[in-house]
Each structure stands twice: as structure tokens, then as C-alpha cells.
Amino acid sequence: MAQFDALFQPLKINQLTIRNRVVSTAHAEVYATEGGMTTERYVKYYEEKAKGGVGLSICGGSSVVSIDSPQDWWKSVNLSTDRIIPHFQNLADAVHKHGGKIMIQITHMGRRSRWDGGNWSTLVSPSGIREPVHRATCKTIEIEEMQRIIGDYAKAAGRAKAGGLDGIELSAVHQHLIDQFWSPRVNQRDDEYGGSFENRMRFGMEVLHAIRAEVGREFAVGLRICGDEFHPDGLNHDDMKQVAAYYDATGLLDFFSVIGSGCDTHNTLANVIPNMSYPPEPFLHLAAGIKEVVNVPVMHAQNIKDPNQAQRILEAGYVDFVGMTRAHIADPHLIAKIKLNQIDQIKQCVGANYCIDRQYQGLDVLCIQNAATSRESTMPHIIAKTEGIVRKVVVIGGGPAGMEAARVSAERGHDVTLIEKNPELGGQITIASKAPQRDQIAGITRWFALELDRLGVDLRLNTAADEALIRSLNADVVILAVGGQPFLGQNPHWGVEEGLSVSTWDILSGKVAPGKNVLVYDTICEFSGLSAADFLAQNGSLVEMVTDDIKPGAAVGGTTFPTYYRSLYEKDVIMSSDLILEKVYREGDKLVAVLENEYTGQQEERVVDQVVIENGVRPDEEIYLQLKSDSRNKGQIDIEALYAALPQPILSEEGEGYLLYRIGDCVSQRNTHAAIYDALRLCKDF
């Protein structure tokens, strides 16, 4: 495996030997509960990565040091109390047991938060300037408050050390308090903490000295900074090199972690966790630039997902550690698989950003394609072979639910047949991947296809499963994952029957050619509508995107809608909200769409060539109803068992005939993660 040798060169951070060059960098997990204490779920999530071989994990993105930096919005870790220490001990032990190292990111978020919750604290910032993304207002920080917070930093670092963690990373990125002082964009003070370079550096420097006084020189302390804020009035790359060199010269820091882009606007925020529309490692040059001016190891994360890519970056020496954070969310066993020469078995992050987009909504981080991540207590990453009977499992439908069901059943050692009517696997993922900038989503299918092949699943493509075929297979278990169809029949006035309106699927799949002047009507406000609009505009259509919701793509997360918007605005797509599509009628060779304003009831019209509607998916139930009555379980899932992650009781009962289950969108429309989770939790006990 010499081809990945650059990954496996141990390197020291201060006194700490990190076993390889791959780091899971800090991100908010949204798993810490009970006032910011790390839970069992939290520990297991990091333990799994350590077990999988990652060199270093930095947990607790934006873990707070002070009580006036609210923690409960993102259930981040709370280091403002000694209560955290025993929790850290659990965490440290779990990771150390597997040879991994663990640090925590600590910070005071200053203005980058919300005040309307928790302690209802007043937020502080160098000059009281509001932060756009979180929308909260804040006060101008006073020197007494600064001194308190500096003390809090030191005490928090001491708690991390007392808890047995291997180090801390100070966050001075993402516009937290330290870099709020750095940036002239928000620091307009005229005292000794503002103005000159040295003055703007002062607060951070005092924090660093206070921490060192608390933890000593031998404890690992790093600093996470950005390489260029990308704001016209912010810090640029040369400024950041100056900052890095200044702090490095103190000799008090043990590593730098570098991120490209500031993130206090929606548009720049999207850069920080680059989604699938970005090129690989788009900001590596910024991290490499910082490495040129500092003498301690530099780590960099941002769209590094592949072992070859990581090897290339490390071998060239651009940085010393690569952060493969989302890569580890998708597959915590990434390192182990490289070592086992199972590169093709790595479930590679596709940059769907389901994880981070949930986080920005205050929801726990989950992976779109790996339902076991952060559910380590109940869901296995490695599916053990059954010690019971080997069953004949027939899965109908090769979308995400069906592929996962087939994979898990095959890993269990069952005899699995997967039937798919299309010539390729993927289901709705295939349709989604046709949109501009969205082709990477097909990576989910790519992995499944390789796995199903490896596991020897009997794959029957181009085969429409009907009742007769299914019955002829004499299955013990039949799993229906046939998905559904666009729900265009909801309003008969849309004229779908007459061909006046088509679905986004029709457009994306290429079934219907793009019209010249198109109205896209989207009631769902997730990906499909935006994707269809982008696809149409890309193909030269004049597009107006209309929604009855508050904005097009309202349900698309904070790191994803900006890249859609960049693309749509660039192509002159007009976005209109709050309009309901009442009806579509034909007038000569044109179509007329009648729209009604939700709030005024006023109607207006659009003359277009094509009306494309996204109104969600209606499950396909036909086969289910045909098979239901003869099945042993009458098609029912024991949801108590399912939700408790227990085996379906009927599996251990004697009986003739087949069991019938429905998963994914063919029950009710949800999303890819739900489909995969459905399949995993049902099939893991077959």
C-alpha cells in the first residue's frame, strides 16, 4: 500500500504523536445534551472514527467557554463548567482505547449566535456590529467583559486538559470573538484592542497567554483560522499570513488549521463547507500559503474526500494534515479500508451537505447515505453475518431504499435478488444527478453498485416486477422500494392529463425537452424544483421560478441554497414567491399559467411555452396491494420494534409464505436518508 504512504507517516503535535495524517476536524455535532454535556451518542460517534483509524479527531465545533456564548442552539459542548470534566474522561478513554487522539475546539462566539434562548444573554462583539447569518444584534464589548472571557478561555482549556483530552483548538475562524477582533470589518474600536495590527491581535494574544498559563507548554494548543475572508472589507490572504506568522512567532501554538473563506454572509458560509458543486480542495492554496509562513504543522479541510486526493496533497507537502471530516461522517472506517486495500468499499462523501445543513437548522448531524453514523448504539457500520437461517430476500426497486435493503440483506448472508425496471440503479438519485452541479450525488449509487456487485446480489435491471414474477421467486422476504410518481394530479386544473404541465422528473430525466420560456412551479422547495430550473436555464430556457412558499428553495439548507442561487441568478432565472398556481390553459400555441397571490388573492398570468411542476411524490402502491393479503405480516412493519432498533418479532416465528415490507418513498415521500435508514433498521436483523 505504498501508494498511500504519505497518509501513514506519523507526525508530532507538541508531545503528541498522531498516528497518521488524517484528521476529523471540528464541526458542531448537535449531540451534546443536558446543558452541553457529551452524551453516550457523542462518545460513540468519535469512538467509531478512532476505531476506524483516523489519526486525530477534533470534536466540539464551536464549543463555548463562557455562559454568555449560548450553547444550546446547536447543542454544542459547554466548557464553562467543571461538570464537563468526567464527560471528557469518557470521551478520551473511548478514543484512546483505539489509538486515536482527541482534542476539542473551544471558542466564544461573540456576535455569531442568537440571544433569544438559553440564558437570554446579551451577545458581545468588538464594535457591536450585527452578524447577518444569525441575525442577532449584539453589544460592544467592554474591557471588563474581555478580561472575564479571557479567564473563561483559560479555565475551559484547563477543563479539557483535566478531562484527559489531548489538546484544544482555538477557533478564530467563522467570525468568532477572537477573529472578530482581528477583522477591521467588525472591529472599529479606537482603544488598544482596535486600529493597528498589534491592537487587533491583542485579544487573541491575551487569550493564548492565559491558556498557556493554565495548561502549560506541553499541552497541545492549536488555532483555527481562515485563509482569506473574501469580504471586500475583511482580511485577505496576505493579512491572514501576517496574522498566522504573528501568532506563530510566539511559539505558543502547536498547529494551525486553515479554512478558506469567511462565513458571516449566506454566500460566504456556503464556501466553508463546500458542497458537491465545488471543485476538490478549492481553498488548499490558502492553507499552503499559511504553511509557508509558520513553523508548526498545518491542517486543512474542505472537500478532501478521497484517499488519492489526500495522498497527493500530503505528498506534495502543501499541508501536514488533511481534514477529511465529512468523509468520515460518510464512512468512519475510511482509514481502515485504505489499510485493508478496500478503497472501492469506502463510502465516499458526495457533498450533499445533509449533515451540515441539518446542523445549521439546529438538528443533529446525520449522513445522507450512511444511516449508522451517530447511531452507533443501535445501527451497525459493519453488518455481521446472520447466525440464523439464510433467507431468500427479493427487493423490488433500485433506488436508495432498495439498494440499501439489498446491500444489508446480502451482508447478512442472505440470498438477495434486486429487481429494477430501469436500465440502471439509483432511482430518484439518478434523476437528481442530471441537474447542473448535482452530478456528484450519483456517487451514492456508484458505491451501492460496487457493493452489490461485490456481495454477489442477483441484480435484474430492465425488469419490471409484477405480481407473477415476484411470486415465482418464492421469496421469504419481499421488500418493496418502488418509490412513487410525481404528484401532479393534486390540482386537476394544472392540466397534466391534457399535457399542459409536466413534472420536474420529466425535464431532468430528458423525457420532455426544455421549452423556450418556462414557468417552474415548486410547492416543495427542496432540491428538485431548483435543479429543474437550473437545468432548464442551463439549456437555454427563459425561466421563472414560482413558489407558494416564502422563497424558492426555502427547504434547502444554508450551505446549499447559495450555490443554487449563484447559478440561477447567473442565468437570469426570475424567482417569485407567494404565488399559487391555480390553473394552466392553452391559448394558441402558448400556455397561460394563472397565479394567485397567497396573501391578497389577486391573480395574474404568465404566457409561457412550458409549465413544469414540482409537487412531491405519490407512492406507487399497486404491487403492494396485490401482494399484501397473502403475506404473513399483511405488509405491516412492527414499528415499535423498528423504532427501538429491534428485530421484527415475526422473523423468529414459524410460518409459511413470505413477509412483505415497504420502505422509502413507496410508503410516503421523505428523503434519501430516510429511505436508507428505513432499509438499514429493517434489514439489519434479517
Partner: protein, 657 residues
């Protein structure tokens, strides 16, 4: 003069003459052997010949019951008959009991010869034909002639029965029989094996092999001597030349040779016969056994002072050998094929610089970096960055130690991700058993096994000396290693350079820990598992039980392969064979994996990093390959692991013993 008197007279003359002729032949043969290089003469061994013949040799022959019974009858009958014939006809001791005895022994021999005849009616391919097809007839004629001759003397038949006609027939039979059986012994017939074989057993280069002992380490050569290794037949030791003459062409070596089975151009039997040709001069046209696969018989010739390689034997033949010792182990005459091959390789490598394949590169790497793949020596411990291992050394700041119970010999698995898993499993097990151990760290060098088998004695000796001087700086009781090659090297080959240690293979060491209850294994899982014996653990060091004991301690009922224990087929990874990479019709690991699959096992347990690399190299789907240490870790009872977490911390903090 009656026909019987004539016979009696004639036989005296004939047998005396035959014995004389035999003696002349023997002297000539000895002169051939004496062309070889000097070697210690173990005179006492000569006294041991009967015992070695009857016990050690018979032990090997007895692996084939049919042949062993046949051989007891034939050879026993013959030896007895010969003695009686000499007593009766040369020394003229006309004792009736001797006559009866001769009748019995010739009958016994006759019966044996019938079985030989039956065996040779449809001879299996490992048997040589040609003059060997004549042997059963000769045996029969000899025994029958003396049986009939003796009948009248016992009084069962009247004397002069059959008259002159029978007498003439008997004369003809006896001339044939004695010619073959007595003169052939020293002049080069099939019976040569009896004469040379007996002497060989007595004067064997590895006296330790007899009486149940072992001697498998290669013998060092003096690097300052004029010529390094064997170029010509006379460069062998004289007793090696003698040993070649002992070959009975039974082909058991051929049956057990993995290279031969894989269609690589090696047949150990032919090799030994070629050595005989080399010693005596001539060509191989008369060789009547299986050829080297892919090489026609009759195209090579040799002589005592003619270089062997590419004249008598193609170099590919030498480099096909995996040094698995299956041939040596199967040889009833206890011939040392591997020694001969390595001797010739030494000349190829150290004098001609013609190690094939990647050999040159590997040897150069070993010189420059002390490991075969040229990794930076300073990265040897990279694999263990997360293991907090205690390292031998004198730097107290780094918590290095100068003594420990166990020296864990890491080996080149340190650079190989697959075998690092085995090492990590071992470490966890050692910690679970609270063993006090330390490693040599970056100071460890390759054991030299590979260099030595590739004929580079110089590099081997450099590595061995370096390792010995490193190890001699520290105090420890036992060296433990997961690599049978290193195990063998340090245990059996470092002694000549002053390195005498108590070395254990990890299976042996763990077996002790398990039987002392220091490691507790879960024995409830049912695994469809077979075990592959590594050559350097099994045949080289006789360790067949410890790995099996460990597997059984995990509740495994081993699905043994047909070829297991001493007849286990090599994985193809020894002797530098993967380096020299001589093409054949199939790959040895594929054949071995086929053996595994035949048992319907889902896991093949191995105990050698070479075996795991070779067997995992077989394309999937195939059974999983796991080292016994890995299996043990899977079965380790958890409670014990928790305890070890403490030990890890202790190791980290304390470091001292």
C-alpha cells in the same frame, strides 16, 4: 562332478570375484566423492548406520505402508541373503541352519520382489523407469535363483534336481542377480543406493537429524574464501556428493515439491540425479523420470569440473525452489536438496551477480536500508505510532528500557499494512496477558532470511551481526515473533555468529499463555476453518501442535487439508520465490488456496506474514485469510481487555521494568 558340486565350486569363484569387483567399484565411487571439498568426517556415524537405517530411514519410508512392507521384505531379505551367501559360499560354512536361513531370506526377498513387481506394473509418474524397471526382475531372479539353489541343500529337494539344465539356468540367474545386486551397488546400478545410502546415513552432514533431532539451519560459509558457493560439482562438500549417490529415485520429493506441481522447471529428484551426472560426468539422456517441467531431458550434460548452471541445470531450476523443505522431509535417504540449491544460488548471487527477477533490487535495498523494499530505516516504527510500545534503548527521556521479559521481534511486517494487523493483534494479546515486552524499534534490521535464501550470504551475515550486536546490548528472556522466517533465522542460524537466544514463534508463546490461563479465549463460536502450516514453522522447526492447540482453544474443529503438517504444501512465499518469480503453469498460492477451498473452510488460519501475503494475493472470491493472532484477538474474552487498558497506561507512564 555333479551339477551341485559344480555350482558350489563355481559360486565360490563367482561370488568372490563379484565381491572383489564390488570393492573396486566402491573405491572408484569413493574417488568420485573425494573430489568434493573437505568436510567434517563423523566417523562415529558409521557405527550408527544400522540404527539409522532401521529407525530414521524406515520412519520416512513407513509413510507409505505398502512400500515400507515391500522394502522390509525385499531389503531385509536381500541383506540377510547376502550375508548368508557370503558365509555359505565364500567362507563355506556349511551349517544347515544357515541353509535354512538362506531359504527363508531368499523367499522373503522373493515375496518382496513380487510386490515391487506389482508396484512397477503401472508405475506412478514419480517413479523412474529405465534401469529401475529392471530392478524387480533382478530381485526376483536373484532371490529365486538362491531359493532354488538352496532347496536341495535343505533336503527338501534331492540334490542335483533338475540336472545341468537347471544348474546352467541357476548360474545364469545368479550371475544376473549378483551382477545387479553386488556389482551394481558400487558401479552405478539401481542398487547403488544401498551402498552410498548406507555410507551417507553414517557420514551425513547433519548428524543432528538422526534420532528424532532437527537440523534445518543453513550452514555459514567463509566470506573470505576464494570462491563463494558452488559453481562446479567439485565445489560441493565430499559428503554432499556422497549424498547425491544415495538417491533411490523414489520421487517422493517430486510428489511434494510445490514448484514442480506448479509447472515451474524444478524437479528435486532430477536435480539430485543431475548432481550425480555432474559428479560422474555424462549427460542426462538416460534419466527415466519426470523431467523438469518445460525442459526436455537429454539436452544437458555435466562433469566434475564443468560449471553446473546453464550447462547441466538451468538457473531457473535453482530459482524455482521455495526452500520449503518438503523434498528434504519426504526423502527416505535424507538427502539435503535445499542445501545444495542454496549452495549453487550463493555462487549465482555472490560471484555472478545473477539473482533473477527483482532479486538485485531487493538485495540492494537490504544493503542500503536494512529492509527489502527500501523504506527509510527511520520509518520502521511508523506502524506503531498509536501503540505506545516500550523500546529497548538507553535514552531514558524517551522511556527506553534495557531489559524486558520478552523482546518482540517485529520483522518486516512493520512496513506492510496487512501484517501490521497481525502485529497489533499480538500486542493486544501480550498486553492482555500482562507480558512485559519491548521492541528494538528502528534498530531492528531484516533478519536476513531472504538475503540468505537468495544466496547473498554476505548481506545475511551483515544483517545477522548487526542484529546480534543490537540485541546483545539488552537483557531479555525470550524473543517472540510472528514471522517464522525470522524465528528460524534467529533460532537456528544466528548461533554460528554468536547469537544464542531463546526464540519462540508467537503461536508457541501464546499457547503457553493460554494453557497458563493468562489469556482466556471464547470457545463458543463455530468457525469453518482450516489451518495452513508455514514451512518455516512446521517442517523447519517441527511446530505443528501449538497453532492447533490455540485454534482448538477457540472451539475450532479444524478442517484439515490433505496436505498438512509435515506434508503441508508451501504457500509459494519462501526462499525468495516471489522475488525471483520464475514462471510456471500456475501459481503456488492458487494451488494452496484450492487445497483450502476443498475443505469448505471459510477462513484459512495462517501463522506467517509471508503466507498471509501470498494467500491474500489469490483473487477473490476466496476464503478469508487470518493470522492466528487475529483470530485470537477476535476470541479474546473482553474482561481481560479492560484490564489491559490499565497496562497500556502503565507502559506509557512507567516504561521501566
Amino acid at each position: 562332478m555333479s551339477s551341485s558340486e559344480f555350482l558350489s565350486q563355481f559360486l565360490f569363484t563367482l561370488i568372490s570375484f563379484a565381491l572383489l569387483l564390488m570393492l573396486v567399484g566402491a573405491v572408484k565411487r569413493m574417488l568420485l566423492w573425494s573430489q568434493g571439498q573437505s568436510s567434517t568426517i563423523h566417523w562415529l556415524g558409521l557405527l550408527q548406520i544400522p540404527r539409522r537405517y532401521l529407525v530414521d530411514l524406515h520412519h520416512v519410508v513407513a509413510r507409505d505402508k505398502y512400500m515400507s512392507n515391500t522394502h522390509v521384505a525385499t531389503a531385509g531379505g536381500f541383506v540377510l541373503s547376502s550375508i548368508l551367501i557370503v558365509l555359505l559360499y565364500v567362507f563355506q560354512l556349511k551349517l544347515q541352519i544357515l541353509t535354512w536361513a538362506l531359504l527363508g531370506s531368499s523367499l522373503l526377498m522373493f515375496v518382496g520382489s513380487i510386490f515391487v513387481m506389482i508396484r512397477r506394473r503401472n508405475p506412478p509418474p514419480n517413479l523412474s523407469l529405465g534401469q529401475w524397471q529392471r530392478l524387480p526382475k533382478s530381485l526376483m531372479v536373484f532371490s529365486l535363483s538362491f531359493f532354488i539353489l538352496t532347496l536341495p541343500a535343505t533336503g527338501i529337494l534331492p540334490s542335483d534336481t533338475g540336472g545341468w539344465l537347471l544348474a546352467l539356468l541357476l548360474v545364469a540367474g545368479i550371475i544376473w542377480g549378483i551382477g545387479e545386486m553386488f556389482c551394481g551397488m558400487t558401479w552405478g546400478g539401481p542398487m547403488k543406493h544401498a551402498f552410498a545410502g548406507a555410507l551417507h546415513l553414517g557420514l551425513h552432514r547433519r548428524q543432528e537429524r538422526f534420532g528424532g533431532g532437527q537440523s534445518t539451519g543453513l550452514k555459514a560459509i567463509d566470506l573470505s574464501s576464494k570462491k563463494l558457493g558452488v559453481e562446479k560439482p567439485i565445489d560441493f562438500k565430499w559428503n554432499q556428493l556422497l549424498s547425491f549417490d544415495a538417491c533411490v529415485e523414489c520421487g517422493r520429493c517430486e510428489n511434494n515439491c510445490p514448484a514442480f506441481a506448479a509447472g515451474q522447471p524444478l524437479n528435486p529428484k532430477k536435480l539430485i540425479q543431475d548432481m550425480v551426472i555432474g559428479m560422474a560426468g555424462g549427460d542426462d539422456a538416460k534419466f527415466a523420470g519426470s523431467p523438469y517441467p518445460g525442459i526436455k531431458v537429454g539436452t544437458h550434460k555435466g562433469g566434475a569440473i564443468i560449471p553446473i548452471v546453464n550447462v547441466l541445470v538451468e538457473s531457473d531450476t535453482l530459482w524455482s525452489c521455495t526452500t520449503c523443505r518438503a523434498c528434504v522431509d519426504a526423502c527416505p535417504m535424507m538427502i539435503e536438496h535445499v542445501d545444495a540449491i542454496v549452495d549453487m544460488r550463493r555462487f549465482e548471487t555472490m560471484e555472478k551477480g545473477q539473482t533473477p527477477g527483482k532479486g538485485s533490487e531487493i538485495l540492494e535495498n537490504l544493503s542500503a536500508t536494512d529492509n527489502p523494499n527500501g523504506f527509510a530505516p527511520s520509518t520502521r516504527m511508523n506502524w506503531a505510532a498509536d501503540q505506545n510500545l516500550t523500546v529497548f534503548g538507553h535514552n531514558e527521556k524517551k522511556q527506553e528500557v534495557t531489559q524486558a521479559d520478552v523482546l518482540l521481534w517485529v520483522g518486516d511486517a512493520a512496513f506492510d499494512m496487512r501484517n501490521q494487523r497481525t502485529l497489533r493483534a499480538m500486542i493486544k494479546l501480550l498486553r492482555a496477558a500482562k507480558v512485559n515486552f519491548a521492541v528494538l524499534g528502528d534498530a531492528e534490521c531484516d533478519s536476513g532470511d531472504l538475503a540468505r535464501r537468495l544466496g547473498d550470504e554476505a548481506t545475511f551475515q551483515r544483517l545477522a551481526n548487526s542484529n546480534i550486536s543490537t540485541m546483545n546490548k539488552y537483557k531479555f528472556n525470550t524473543i517472540v515473533t510472528a514471522d517464522p522466517h525470522a524465528f528460524h533465522c534467529i533460532k537456528n542460524e544466528y548461533g554460528e555468529f554468536g547469537g544464542n537466544y531463546n526464540v519462540m514463534h508467537h503461536t508457541g508463546f501464546f499457547a503457553e499463555l493460554v494453557s497458563q490461563q493468562k489469556i482466556k479465549l471464547d470457545n463458543s463460536k463455530e468457525l469453518a476453518l482450516t489451518y495452513h502450516d508455514p514451512c518455516y514453522l512446521g517442517r523447519y522447526n517441527g511446530e505443528y501442535d501449538a497453532p492447533r492447540f490455540l485454534l482448538e482453544s477457540m472451539g475450532v474443529k479444524i478442517k484439515e487439508m490433505d496436505r498438512s503438517k509435515s506434508t503441508a504444501r508451501c504457500c509459494g512465499g519462501g526462499g525468495g520465490a516471489p522475488v525471483t518469480d520464475i514462471p510456471g503453469k500456475q501459481r503456488i498460492p492458487d494451488m494452496r488456496m484450492a487445497d483450502v477451498i476443498e475443505t469448505k473452510a471459510e477462513i484459512v488460519a495462517v501463522a506467517c506474514p509471508g503466507c498471509s501475503a501470498m494467500l491474500e494475493g489469490v483473487v477473490e472470491p476466496r476464503p478469508e485469510v487470518k493470522d492466528i493472532a487475529e483470530l485470537m484477538l477476535d476470541a479474546l474474552i473482553e474482561g481481560v481487555v479492560e484490564d489491559t487498558a490499565e497496562v497500556v497506561v502503565e507502559d506509557m507512564v512507567g516504561g521501566a521494568v
